[in-house]
């Protein structure tokens, strides 16, 4: 387990790279919306994992969708990683969390990588390139850098690219983040928990797995050339639920094999791995009390019900402590089962 001082340094490294950190708020994924719903496991889920929420009874959930950027400025239409943090409220009063983002792979392997990334990928001014520079890129068969969004004056893109150019393990995560786009709805994106977990079946079999949420309404992004709107995602979700349009996700669990990248969040698993449908999440309402519905909930990727364990992924280990530090800093509820 990462010690408290390292966890604190991790959070400080993140905060140091924010344009305007906001006391009392999450340093990143600041903007979000809490949603209520229920999860029902599939009829096969219990044969793979003994955790309570896979037994088949409807389980109430609290979900917080979020934009990845830090700060209180809302830019739904900017290309950005989105978050989907889910808390399953178990019948015995405890809870288990599953934290996922639209980024399928991470860009660093461990804490040391992350500190170097934070040093290199600093906020830098971001301006429109001159047309001559773009012409030069086009002549080299490169895609010119995108124009800044309205009000976008800085970002970490150049630094992240420099880091990826030095480290091949980072290239997939950085590339995917660069082209991730903006979804038309929070419920029209796939979310990936990235890290490997170990689930225990009723016969004691332990399997390394990765979880993903697949949207039943399908994946759809805003066209990259469309005008960017700052605020639409929460309103879209509220309207969708009010009109009873699809707002469901399937929970997919991919089972890894022994020599797959079990502890390296920068590496995907092959598409040939067995894939289990573990259940369906149905969202029902956006509560008016957003404090209780999402803002005050302190999700943690290592809050896991019996039957699910964290793997030895060093980033997953580090997130346990980093999330707790962040929670303390903003006065969220402490890490405990409820």
């Amino acid at each position: 387990m990462v010690d408290a001082s390292v966890a604190k340094r991790l959070v400080e490294a993140i905060i140091a790279n924010l344009p305007a950190p906001v006391p009392g708020e999450r340093p990143v994924h600041t903007i979000g919306v809490g949603v209520k719903g229920r999860f029902v496991a599939s009829d096969v889920a219990r044969t793979y994992c003994i955790a309570e929420h896979f037994k088949g009874e409807p389980i109430p959930v609290s979900v917080r969708f979020s934009n990845g950027l830090g700060g209180l400025e809302q830019h739904d239409g900017w290309s950005d990683v989105r978050g989907m943090a889910t808390r399953f409220h178990l019948p015995d009063g405890t809870a288990t969390d599953l934290i996922a983002t639209t980024l399928g792979e991470f860009f660093v392997r461990n804490v040391e990588d992350f500190f170097e990334f934070a040093r290199v990928a600093k906020l830098e001014p971001y301006r429109r390139q001159s047309p001559w520079r773009k012409i030069w890129d086009i002549l080299q068969l490169k895609v010119p850098a995108r124009n800044p969004y309205p009000k976008e004056t800085e970002n970490v893109n150049a630094g992240a690219l420099r880091y990826a150019n030095r480290h091949r393990f980072a290239q997939l995560g950085v590339f995917q983040a660069a082209v991730i786009g903006a979804p038309v709805s929070y419920v029209r994106a796939s979310y990936h928990a990235v890290h490997t977990f170990v689930v225990t079946g009723p016969d004691g079999t332990r399997r390394p797995v990765r979880f993903s949420w697949q949207p039943v309404a399908g994946v759809r992004n805003i066209a990259p050339t469309a005008v960017s709107h700052d605020k639409y995602l929460r309103e879209e979700l509220e309207n969708r639920l009010r009109r009873r349009r699809p707002a469901r996700f399937m929970l997919m669990m991919t089972i890894g094999e022994a020599d797959d990248a079990l502890e390296d969040p920068t590496k995907p698993w092959p598409a040939t791995r067995v894939r289990i449908v573990m259940g369906t999440l149905t969202l029902t309402e956006v509560p008016k009390d957003q404090e209780a519905a999402g803002r005050r909930i302190s999700f943690n990727p290592c809050r896991l019900a019996p039957g699910i364990e964290a793997s030895g992924d060093p980033i997953l280990e580090a997130r346990l402590g980093a999330y707790e530090v962040s929670r303390e800093m903003r006065g969220g509820c402490p890490f405990r089962w409820s």
Binding site: K142, P144, N147, F169, Q171, P270, A271, T272, R273
Partner: protein
């Protein structure tokens, strides 16, 4: 429209999407960069299997140019398949590791697309053993086919011949594609390196010039990780 955006900015932004630019670039920029920064054709077929699961539901995408490039040539190829349908089906049943297989005519090419379990070399050997005669009938209609027929007597040469006509499978991730190019050049460095990710579009264009036909990604599977034997057993339909 941003306040600092002039007509020239908008014009340049639109250039890469314009059809005329794409045509002109194909005739000028692409050949230029192909000479200046050449790429080698990437080999076809599935990647080397590292795990048991990598040997299940492998994809084969064979593209074989016909000798007679006309409706008559295509009709001959279609007849060669149609007249041997029973032999093909019996052979595939006997091989026992084929999930799906079909012959397709695209332009003046006879193509075979299949999904199979196990190693590529063993897969072709099994085919030669069970439907070698059918292969001979088809391969004699294909450019270069006479060198490897009868396939039962030229097994190794035939396996290599098939491998050369199996499409390169572009990986599921863009960066794995870069790794394939690097591996072909003997570059297996990890960190630190001196790459330029902004060159990815050019490298992709040049690669698709070297490999004009490719299979995009590893393909969707409704039930990945299960062999023919397992599926048939689970469904209770015998194997």
């Amino acid at each position: 429209m941003a306040a600092d955006e002039g007509w020239f900015d908008r014009f340049v932004d639109a250039v890469p999407r314009h059809r005329l630019f794409k045509h002109v670039a194909s005739w000028t920029l692409v050949p230029f960069w192909a000479r200046w920064t050449p790429v080698k054709p990437l080999p076809g077929g599935p990647r080397p299997a590292m795990q048991p699961g990598d040997n299940i539901q492998c994809m084969m995408n064979l593209i074989m140019p016909l000798k007679i490039k006309s409706p008559i040539g295509r009709a001959e190829a279609a007849l060669a398949i149609a007249q041997n349908k029973d032999a093909i089906y019996a052979g595939l049943n006997n091989v026992g590791t084929v999930h799906f297989a079909r012959f397709v005519i695209v332009g003046d090419n006879i193509c075979m697309f299949s999904v199979y379990d196990g190693d590529f070399t063993n897969y072709i050997r099994d085919f030669i053993a069970t439907i070698g005669e059918v292969f001979n009938e088809v391969v004699k209609l294909v450019e270069g086919g006479e060198k490897v027929t009868p396939c039962e007597k030229n097994v190794e040469a035939f396996i290599q011949w098939v491998h050369e006509r199996d499409l390169y499978q572009v990986p599921d991730t863009a960066t794995d594609f870069l790794r394939d190019q690097e591996a072909l050049s003997g570059d297996k460095a990890a960190s630190p390196v001196n790459d330029d990710l902004t060159l990815l579009p050019r490298r992709l264009v040049l690669q698709l010039r070297a490999n004009a036909n490719v299979s995009l990604g590893s393909g969707y599977r409704a039930y990945p990780g299960f062999s023919v034997a397992q599926v048939r057993k689970q469904l209770g339909i015998g194997w």
